[in-house]
Amino acid sequence: MSKAVATQPLQTGKPRSVSRLWWRKLRELPLVSIIILLIVLVIPALLAEVIAPHNPFEGSLGKRLQAPAFFGGPSEHLLGTDHQGRDILSRIIYGSRISIAVAAAGILIAGILGTLLGLMAGYFRGWIDALVMRLVDITLSIPAILVALVVAAAIGARFSSVVFIIALVLWAVYARQIRGETLKWSQSDFVARARVAGASHFRILTRHILPNVTNTLIVLATLQVGFVIVFEASLSFLGVGIPRPNPAWGLMIADGRKYVMSAWWISFFPGLAIMLTVLSLNMLGDWLRDRLDPKLRQV
């Protein structure tokens, strides 16, 4: 009781109300997630050249499998060295760029393609709708990893093949979601009014429908960044992910897994980086969803 009384004046204090409002908004933000993302993903990616202590590609067999500095290893390598004698910390720092690049490229391509087809299917209906929905069905019924294996066998695993597979997996999700939303909005009053007013299809799609599905797009994309990072790691495990000697996080865990007993640090630290990043991204995505698009049911 006395506690409540003590805090009362502070809460109603008028001069503080503006800053308090800001503070409350800030507190609503998933602050921890954002800080983790900044530390693990964004800052390393932006400043890799400045903060990485070593060249991520340069190693020497003489220095392989050295323990982290705080674990009895030499102070030169804070998180130890991998099986080629490369500095793990530097590789994780540079690896953030690959994670961002893969996720951005894959999601952008899938998002644009899926949105475009989804909008058209939902708006024009008829044969376009039938065609797009069949394509979605086909895509969703072919196991993506099978395609990944075959593509990698045919052209060799590389950045572009990984992005292609990711785009292939994700576009259908966008197309289906956006189609559903478009269907709903096409039947709304304001679209009908625009139609009566003589607006072109293009104008209706871009000015009236697209803005209404943007929230869904943003939430989907945020939630999928995490999925892409984890999926890329699974591809690496099967030998069809980002190729060696690139410092991709997934590749680092996949290659480091056989040292899980003798040199756990090779796979542990990139694993930690993936976990923190994906966890934060998902938290952020959930938060965004609650704010922007609470009805979104798609994962």
Binding site: R134, D137, I138, L140, S141, I142, P143, A144, I145, L146, V147, L149, V150, V151, A153, A154, G226, F227, V230, F231, A233, S234, F237, L238, G250, I253, A254, R257, V260, M261, S267, G271, I274, M275, V278, L279, N282, M283, D286, P294, K295, L296, R297, V299
Partner: protein, 306 residues
């Protein structure tokens, strides 16, 4: 209703036909099975002869017509890699193991997702909500294979609670099923949470509250029963993720399912098995989705069959 089902079945056929063409072409783009399966000592003449024996000397469109003709009669050809094994038998044998694991994984996912989803909806934005989300999201934050290896290390090597790998007893299934299922918990939990939030907000729940029904009854009897239907839509998609997730998980736990068979078949350029896996897989996914749609139509009569 009947018209709806017939139409959907026809669409299924079109989809399967397209899948067969795509996979047939993809398989052939992936390379030459002779390089994967024949010894280096093989002479030019031998290589030519084996090609004829496998029927791969024919023009590609002829190969496809032969394949699809036989496939329609249920004959998917003989595996190139496993001499004397019918591709379909091989795949179905292994698919049984994969489905077994997927089913246990699903039970686990539901068992974890339902309480988390309901609790985090009831106690929205509380510490329970956060903790629940954290548990659910953890399973999605690491690749299957890595969780699998860490599990083996903790529960088999150090604690000696569970067998490392292989198939046999129920204990063998626990770790791989959790690894596969955990990945799905987050998605399922989100669905349950959002539909719970919706039904907690509905008129009849408010009415029940006014009538003085106990909170527990409201949550589990009124709100949850109505919310439980929603995740069903996701069932088909989830099943496909479960099966896909099994590829890496089966490799880590040496579970003799279709997942590792796929890896072997692609490595060996075993066209017949690759094609069969893709078509069987597609059929399973499509039929699952169809079953879910029909089920959903029963539950929610507002859905129009057009």
């Amino acid at each position: 209703m009947q018209r709806f089902i017939i139409r959907r079945l026809l669409q299924t056929l079109v989809t399967l036909l397209a899948v067969s063409i795509i996979v047939f072409a993809l398989a052939r783009l992936s390379g030459d099975p002779r390089d994967a399966l024949m010894p280096m000592e093989a002479s030019r003449a031998d290589r030519e002869r084996i090609l004829v024996h496998w029927g791969l000397d024919q023009p590609v469109h002829m190969q496809y017509l032969v394949f699809i003709g036989n496939a329609l009669r249920g004959d998917f050809g003989e595996s190139l890699q496993w001499p004397g094994r019918k591709a379909l038998d091989l795949v179905l044998d292994r698919l049984g193991n994969t489905m077994e694991l997927a089913a246990v994984a699903l039970v686990f996912a539901i068992a974890l997702a339902v309480p988390i989803g309901v609790l985090s909806a009831v106690h929205k934005d509380s510490r329970t909500d956060f903790l629940g989300k954290l548990i659910a999201l953890l399973g999605q934050s690491l690749p299957h294979f890595w969780i699998g290896i860490v599990f083996i290390w903790i529960f088999s090597v150090h604690l000696r609670w569970l067998p490392t790998s292989g198939r046999g007893t129920f204990q063998h299934m626990i770790m791989p099923a959790i690894v596969i299922g955990w990945f799905q918990v987050a998605a399922l939990m989100r669905l349950i949470r959002s539909s719970m939030l919706e039904s907690l907000d509905s008129e009849y729940v408010k009415l029940a509250r006014i009538k003085g029904v106990s909170e527990r009854m409201i949550i589990w009897k009124h709100a949850f029963r109505n919310a439980a239907i929603t995740p069903l839509t996701y069932f088909g998609v989830m099943m496909s993720y479960l099966v896909v997730g099994s590829i890496t998980t089966e490799t880590v736990f040496s579970w003799p399912g279709v997942g590792y068979l796929v890896v072997q078949a692609v490595t060996a350029r075993d066209f017949q098995v690759v094609q069969t896996v893709a078509i069987v897989f597609a059929t399973v996914i499509i039929l699952m989705n169809l079953a879910v749609d029909i089920l959903y139509a029963y539950i929610d009569p507002r859905i129009r069959y057009d």
